[in-house]
Amino acid sequence: MDIARLFAGVLKNDRSEFDALVNRCHRQAYNVAYRLTGNHADADDLTQETFLRAYRFFDRYNRSMPFENWLYRIMSRVFIDELRKKPKHRIQSIDQPINIGSGSEREMLLEIPDYDSNPENALLTDQLDEVLQTALNSLPEEFRIAVILADIEGMSYEEIAESMSCSLGTVRSRLHRGRKLLRSRLTPPSDMAARS
């Protein structure tokens, strides 16, 4: 077998491996992206850009490292580098069709999932979700990433350090400060005054 065919075979294998990883990880990655950005539109952009960069540099992916950790490393960089430049909020009407490709047939309506059949619980969950997300959005990016990876993704400090390309000490410090800030955002000002 000549080199070109061998190379083509490797590329084909890489592509099929990558496709399988996209299918396996996209939901998890999207959830993290949503928690980082706070809205669906930016989460969508962030996830797509993350997977695009992962594809570009897939030959550098070290198979001994979990793919998710490598993906979150890319996502952290993309998030810090690019989404900072964008406007913070996008307005999307719930009645407005979402274009998911080229052509008019590639449009669909926004589906709002029903997570709880009990309306009261659903309302409470949604309210709590909104409050927590607003508090998360107020954190500096590095703290937000650390808190999300630790508390939502349940990653260890070592994995977070790997994903954020920093030391364990930095992870510990970012988590400590991030949680402290988050708590201050979630605690009513009167309670904070009484505490101090």
Partner: protein, 203 residues
């Protein structure tokens, strides 16, 4: 261990990321300090709330969108590669030959030389022979036009018109003669003429 230090380590303690000794010290402190214990419980509560946040799912078929983005990007990348190679080639040429203005001048000069040489060559008139007038002409008349007698053609082969002995070997062209010196000329060296206006040879 005092409250200040414990406060700094509470987060790592909660995550189980502290070495055994420090972890034990903090546990002892929390058992004895209500304020730190309250802080710890608040942190733990917050961590649990974050862990219970509902999982957000994409609003459309995300893998399809990802693969489409990759395909578009790959196409753009291939275009960028062609452009980059062209640029590299141009840079290489510039480095090897010089700035574009010099290259353009050189090309123009070379073109001018080639054109001059070619036009000089094509305009050059070569004699391929003449008519013998030592005997009275036996020309024929057709529709009032007098033709030269092919039998009276005497070829004068030269380096530019080799192999021409009789008029049968000559293909005439309208621009291939000169009158009235009775000589038949070829405008292009080594190239037989294709047509001729015989009236020019009438006497």
């Amino acid at each position: 261990m005092n409250c200040r230090k414990v406060n700094h380590l509470l987060s790592a303690y909660m995550d189980g990321e502290l070495p055994g000794i420090e972890s034990l010290q903090i546990r002892d402190h929390l058992n004895s300090c209500q304020a730190c214990c309250d802080d710890y419980n608040e942190l733990l509560h917050m961590k649990r709330l974050l862990g219970r946040l509902k999982v957000q799912t994409p609003v459309h078929d995300l893998p399809v969108a990802i693969f489409q983005t990759i395909r578009v990007d790959s196409e753009l990348a291939s275009h960028r590669t062609v452009a980059a190679r062209t640029q590299e080639l141009a840079n290489g040429l510039r480095a090897a030959v010089g700035p574009p203005r010099v290259v353009a001048i050189a090309i123009c000069a070379a073109g001018l030389v080639v054109f001059t040489f070619a036009s000089r060559n094509s305009d050059k008139v070569h004699s391929i022979g003449s008519w013998d007038h030592s005997t009275p002409p036996a020309s024929e008349f057709t529709a009032g036009i007098r033709y030269p007698d092919p039998q009276r053609f005497v070829s004068t082969p030269s380096r530019n018109t080799p192999g021409i002995r009789t008029l049968d070997e000559v293909s005439f062209t309208g621009q291939s003669y000169r009158w009235p010196d009775d000589r038949l000329y070829s405008r292009r060296a080594n190239t037989p003429v294709s047509t001729v206006d015989y009236t020019q040879f009438g006497r």
